[in-house]
């Protein structure tokens, strides 16, 4: 084929392709891309659990079983009693601290739902060895964390059947974003431009704390 003939052939093919494309997108809404997900595939990834218990797998685990597992797999970071090692997350205690200068936000003091603990342990714990626990082990660990927070008794066995009966005390203290009402005064068409304050005083210095990585001394000015 000569060069020009080839070019004409390509141009003709392109015209057809462009002519067809709009017809396709107008004719039917679906692209036909992708495929149907198989039930086994959905089961492998869809492990999420909601506060109403939707998504919980069959199974159960006791506080006692949870305690043994916790000491073996969790205590290195979270401490034997969920008190936290170093700066790793504290899981227990902190009740009554939320209004203080140093609020301790634990499963017992802060988290609104027990399902979050189950869901998170199952998907992301132990740190660095995620998705290695069986459902029964996750039930047991969740039960132990609840017991560390005095929310269930030491002989408690957590299961899919009784899960929704566990309520966390701080649930009622969460409410939806209300900034557009409670912070309405931040919308202001004419902010002050001149003489907005009588005097300005410096009330705090970062340098006093000196926590910035390699803070340096003063620069030179020419």
């Amino acid at each position: 084929m000569s060069k020009s003939a080839k070019f004409i052939a390509i141009a003709a093919a392109a015209t057809i392709a462009f002519a067809v494309a709009p017809a396709l997108s107008q004719g039917k809404k679906k692209s036909g891309l992708g495929r149907v997900a198989l039930p086994e595939e959905i089961a492998a990834w869809d492990t999420d659990v909601r506060p109403d218990g939707a998504g919980l797998p069959p199974g159960k685990g006791s506080v006692k079983e949870g305690e043994a597992l916790f000491q073996e797999q969790c205590a290195a970071c979270h401490g034997e009693f969920g008190e936290g090692a170093g700066r790793w997350p504290v899981l227990a205690g902190g009740q009554g601290s939320l209004k203080s200068e140093g609020p301790e936000k634990t499963v017992g003091s802060f988290w609104p739902y027990a399902s979050t603990t189950f869901d998170y342990i199952r998907r992301a714990m132990p740190f660095g060895n995620a998705q290695s626990l069986t459902p029964d082990q996750v039930y047991a660990l969740t039960a132990y964390v609840l017991q560390l927070n005095d929310l269930v008794k030491e002989d408690f066995v957590l299961s899919r059947e009784n899960f929704a009966s566990v309520k966390l005390p701080n649930e009622k203290n969460f409410y939806d974003d209300d900034r557009e009402v409670s912070e309405k005064h931040f919308w202001n068409k004419k902010p002050c431009m001149t003489n907005c304050k009588v005097e300005v005083k410096v009330t705090g210095h970062a340098r006093v704390l000196d926590v910035t990585p390699d803070s340096k001394t003063g620069p030179k000015v020419d």
């Binding site: 999420d48 409410y175 431009m193 005083k201 340098r207 990585p213």
Partner: protein, 427 residues
């Protein structure tokens, strides 16, 4: 025309400085052009430099180009004491070294919960399941064949940006106080395209986005937002996403807190209620002074910061200087930024340059003469919804000091006579 405008700008500056009580003698003294020392010729000119004599490296000596060796200090930094380990931690964008409105890919701040997942795109799948007509799976190739590909520039800010400053000035540098933000161009397709392909059932009201990394990051997002402007993106600034930004696929949730922009996106589930995952209960909820907590505070309010001068970028010269900074809002576009040099007593409107797109970063400048006087620099952003960036004290009055997230208060830098700048709080 030009000269009229110039005169107007100069007037503006004079009245601004006068109002600030800084229009003292000598302030407007034109600085002399910089001469070489005692009239001696400048060796940078008279000596033949190595690069002017010798051959440089040839093409492809750096197949993927890197910045100049003289820019080695322009890097992401972390603050070790902030987190227990590096895998679940954060690094900060060096805002004081950047200009314009786009963040270079290699400098975009990082936030990982279980380290950087290195995902093979050939093995990456996006599943859509839940309240859908069809439960579906897509490969990366499938996604790139969808019609309706988009390019959009959006800022991404971590809700905890400036979170260390609630109780007072703590970190010296806008990289550390404000560096959990970046602004890049995303290429991808609307999430709506995929949801329409699978067919959302009428009782579907929420989506759950899930990541493929070992933290299995999950966030609930209202279906309205998912259908309005969310994207699944595979490219940033024209090239594939970086691994630390979710390669090969991430969710883009314009204007909303960064944690929701799930990286390494592998699954979208549709449901009739939110899931209350860890990152929307124990984290990313805002504890207020009365002990109660706001949840679902997704929108990032208008915010700005002066990046130069700032503690990591002191003033080095008297005379002409350029003050610059960035502003962004999750409620629309930035319409105006005001700057104060006296700690918020008096303000002037800054000059903006570059595009000011909705839910994207804007750049502002004030060209000024500095005579060595102390400055208390502040910037105040306004957005298209009419929201005005509040002071930190305004925020504390409503929220107390325990809320960690959503600190968009006005930042103050104290610039001393030696040009040094410090993070301070003012009355």
């Amino acid at each position: 025309m030009m000269s009229e405008k110039k005169a107007h700008d100069a007037l503006d500056r004079r009245s601004f400085l006068r109002a600030s009580g800084l229009a003292g003698a000598g302030l407007f003294a034109t600085s002399a052009p910089v001469l070489s020392q005692q009239g001696k010729p400048d060796p940078a000119i008279t000596d033949v430099q190595d690069w002017a004599r010798n051959l440089g490296p040839g093409v492809v000596s750096s197949p993927y180009g890197k910045p100049s060796e003289f820019e080695k200090h322009v890097i992401r930094r972390d603050v070790e004491w902030l987190t227990a380990g590096k895998e679940s931690s954060v690094s900060f964008t060096p805002l004081h070294e950047l200009d314009g409105v786009i963040t270079p890919n290699g400098l975009c701040f990082e936030r990982h919960h279980s380290g950087i997942a290195h995902v093979d795109p050939a093995k990456h799948r996006l599943m859509l399941n839940g309240l859908l007509d069809r439960q579906m799976v897509f490969t990366m190739d499938d996604l790139k064949r969808f019609p309706g590909r988009q390019n959009r520039a959006y800022f991404l800010e971590c809700a905890a940006n400036s979170g260390m400053e609630w109780r007072g000035a703590q970190l010296n540098g806008c990289q550390f106080t404000h560096g959990m933000v970046h602004n890049v161009w995303y290429t991808g397709i609307p999430l709506k395209t995929l949801l329409d392909e699978a067919g959302v059932k009428t009782n579907g009201k929420w989506i759950l986005a899930e990541g493929a990394d070992s933290s299995g990051m999950t966030r609930s997002i209202p279906l309205d937002k998912a259908m309005k402007d969310c994207m699944v993106a595979w490219a940033m600034n024209g090239e594939a996403l970086r691994p630390e930004q979710g390669y090969p696929l991430r969710l883009v949730v314009p204007g909303w807190e960064g944690n929701m922009w799930v990286k390494w996106l592998r699954r979208i589930e549709v449901g009739d209620q939110p899931w209350h995952a860890r990152e929307e209960t124990s984290k990313y909820t805002d504890l207020l002074a009365d002990g109660r907590s706001r949840r679902f505070t997704w929108i990032m309010d208008a915010k700005s910061v002066i990046t130069n001068p700032s503690p990591q970028a002191p003033l080095k010269h008297k005379g002409p200087n350029v003050l610059t900074g960035i502003a962004w809002s999750g409620r629309g576009s930035i319409t105006r930024v005001d700057v104060s040099i006296d700690g918020g007593k008096n303000w002037r409107t800054a000059r903006m340059d570059g595009p000011s797109m909705p839910l994207s970063m804007a750049r502002f400048y004030v060209d000024f003469d500095w005579n060595g006087q102390e400055l208390l620099l502040q910037s105040r952003a306004m957005d298209s919804s009419g929201y005005v960036q509040p002071t930190k004290n305004d925020l504390r009055q409503v929220r107390g000091t325990n809320s960690i997230y959503h600190n968009n208060g006005i930042q103050t830098w104290l610039v001393r006579a030696n040009g040094e700048a410090e993070n301070v709080e003012v009355s």
